[in-house]
């Protein structure tokens, strides 16, 4: 049904987006919790920095990554020497799309943390729960629907990532050519219209699937708490 070329792009897209989401989630959780609960100097600056991928052209993010990981630089050179440089590899595509997805995840999760009534944390405290237990036993489960929708948003953003990925990881079939890049290539090549249309349809699958899963899980969580 699918050509080798198409299934490779689909599988790669999944691998890249899942990695980007899973690796980005802890970062997003930490950043969102920090922004929602803590007060510290430089909070506004951090907030702005974390939102940069949302507002600058994705190509710029890819370009900045290229510079940061350039083999001529100290960091990039060290990575290169140890064979760890992500540039032009699928890991690079995951990194680029993860960074692009991060602000969306942070926004959604932060809202969930901010929506939690402080009374729960206070009660947990007087019941003997320290900060760490309050986080994983109270805040985290209460924010679960928001975390879920953040993850789905991030996944959808990552799987559709184009500009940063093509700039940082290039468009190498089977290696860094995700669905959007494959679609782009097909649309660019003469006589590729049919392939482009098939790839466009194919792109709907992961997007719809992730939405469906998240809606189901989130509805179940809300129902348990009497919110639905």
């Amino acid at each position: 049904m699918l050509s080798d070329f198409e299934s490779a792009a689909l599988a790669l897209s999944f691998k890249v987006a899942v990695t980007a989401t899973l690796a980005g989630l802890p970062v997003a959780l930490f950043a969102a919790f920090m922004l929602a609960r803590w007060r510290f100097p430089g909070k506004t600056i951090l907030d702005v920095l974390l939102h940069i991928p949302l507002v600058v052209p994705p190509v710029v993010v890819g370009y900045l990554l290229l510079i940061a990981f350039a083999p001529t630089g100290a960091f990039g050179g060290w990575l290169q020497a140890h064979g760890l440089s992500p540039a032009f590899k699928w890991q690079g595509a995951a990194l680029a799309s993860g960074i692009m997805a991060l602000p969306l995840m942070i926004r959604s999760i932060r809202q969930a943390f901010e929506a939690e009534s402080p009374a729960f944390g206070d009660v947990a405290t007087t019941l003997g729960a320290g900060p760490w237990r309050r986080f994983y036993a109270v805040s985290l489960p209460l924010a679960w629907p928001g975390i879920l929708s953040g993850a789905v948003l991030g996944f959808a953003r990552a799987i559709g990532e184009f500009g940063a990925t093509i700039t940082f990881a290039a468009n190498i079939p089977g290696l860094t050519q995700t669905l959007p890049l494959a679609l782009y290539s097909a649309a660019q090549s003469p006589g590729g219209e049919a392939a482009a249309a098939r790839l466009a349809l194919l792109s709907l699958i992961p997007a719809l699937l992730s939405l469906l899963i998240s809606e189901t899980l989130s509805r179940r969580a809300r129902k348990k708490r009497g919110l639905a």
Partner: protein, 357 residues
């Protein structure tokens, strides 16, 4: 032995300064005052959820906060359980898991507490399916299960109907007595103080006024004004003696009062509240009258009011009563301090509360 709870705090929370000093030794101490005077703020300070500017918090002789000595135990290590007004049950956990959240006692013990509180059948339910009264009970059991050094209940009776209110007051008293955990009960209702507490702390805006046994606090000059009560009445501790003709007789020394029999077991302790306006006076014992309680007293004091008098009465064995009469009656009876009179109290006018079964 030091008092169970010893507090002296000065604070400045959210622009509002305040200070409080009190110690309490009874099972249940009411922290009473009008709404908005800072009772909840004080509770948060004691629990360590807000930071005072100076003072100390000692519970059972253990110092949990002392600005002079530089002691400030973290809130989660203080062992002071604070049950907020809205119960704050964790919505993502079942009743059982809520109670288990900070529990330091065995499952069997938890089950016993739950049975006692009448929530044993609710263990698998979710918090949003509980009624307000059930949620309060779960929150109280959840707090007691952590074996706290002190339990603070913030307006636990708010929004409950009178029957549930009474049940909950009984539960609070019983749990305090059985668990040995001192309880601070925050309230703005004098009934709750009179029926559920042994000691009380009266709070005015941003300061505590007085503290001590509830009779003392009830009699304090500022109590009536602060709580906006016109007729505080008097409080009598009594024990159920015998029963006859649908009545029980409740005794305090040689003073006895007849009350409607609601099935109270003989020998149980009751707290009776008699309002001043429900007490009539007569110079002689009356016959052919439906009023069952005629108590011989001495007039201990007379206070003039805008349209009448409050007469303080005392029986031979020290039971105190108050009678509120009009100017005309006062003149007609020609009353003065030291006179012997009979206090006439209708059985149905006495409000009672079971203290100990």
């Amino acid at each position: 032995m030091s008092a169970a709870v010893d507090i002296a705090l000065r604070w400045h929370v959210a622009e509002d300064p305040g200070n409080a000093t009190f110690s309490a030794g009874g099972d249940v101490t009411a922290l009473i005052g009008p709404s908005g005077v800072g009772k909840s703020t004080l509770a948060r300070l004691i629990a360590g959820l807000s930071q005072p500017t100076e003072g100390h918090v000692r519970v059972n002789g253990e110092t949990l906060y002392d600005s002079a000595a530089g002691v400030n135990v973290s809130a989660y290590k203080r062992g002071i359980a604070l049950v907020p007004q809205d119960s704050a049950l964790f919505p993502h956990l079942s009743v059982k898991a809520n109670i288990g959240f900070g529990a330091k006692i065995a499952e069997a013990e938890i089950a016993r507490y739950a049975e006692e509180a009448g929530i044993g059948h609710l263990m698998d339910r979710r918090p949003h399916t509980l009624s307000g009264g059930e949620a309060r009970r779960v929150a109280i059991v959840r707090a007691l299960a952590t074996q706290p050094k002190l339990l603070i209940l913030d307006e636990p009776m708010t929004g409950l109907d009178p029957v549930r209110r009474r049940d909950l007051m009984t539960l609070i008293r019983t749990s305090a007595r059985l668990s040995g955990v001192p309880v601070i009960l925050i309230t703005h209702q004098i009934e709750e103080m009179l029926f559920a507490a042994d000691d009380a702390v009266l709070m005015a805006p941003a300061r505590t006024v007085t503290s001590g046994p509830i009779e003392t606090v009830l009699a304090h000059a500022e109590t009536a004004r602060l709580l906006n009560i016109d007729d505080a009445g008097s409080l009598i501790e009594a024990t159920v003696g015998g029963r006859q003709d649908g009545l029980i007789s409740c005794c305090n020394g040689n003073t006895s009062l007849m009350l409607p029999d609601d099935g109270e077991p003989e020998g149980c302790r009751l707290r009776l509240r008699v309002l001043g306006r429900d007490v009539a006076l007569s110079k002689h014992a009356l016959e052919d009258v439906s009023i069952l309680n005629q108590i011989e007293c001495r007039i201990a004091g007379v206070t003039e009011r805008p349209s009448g008098y409050d007469i303080a009465l005392e029986t031979a064995d020290g039971v105190q009563l108050k009678s509120r009469i009009t100017m005309r009656s006062y003149k007609a009876l020609n009353l003065k301090e030291g006179d012997t009179v009979f206090a006439l109290i209708k059985a149905v006018a006495v409000k009672e509360m079971l203290v100990e079964g």
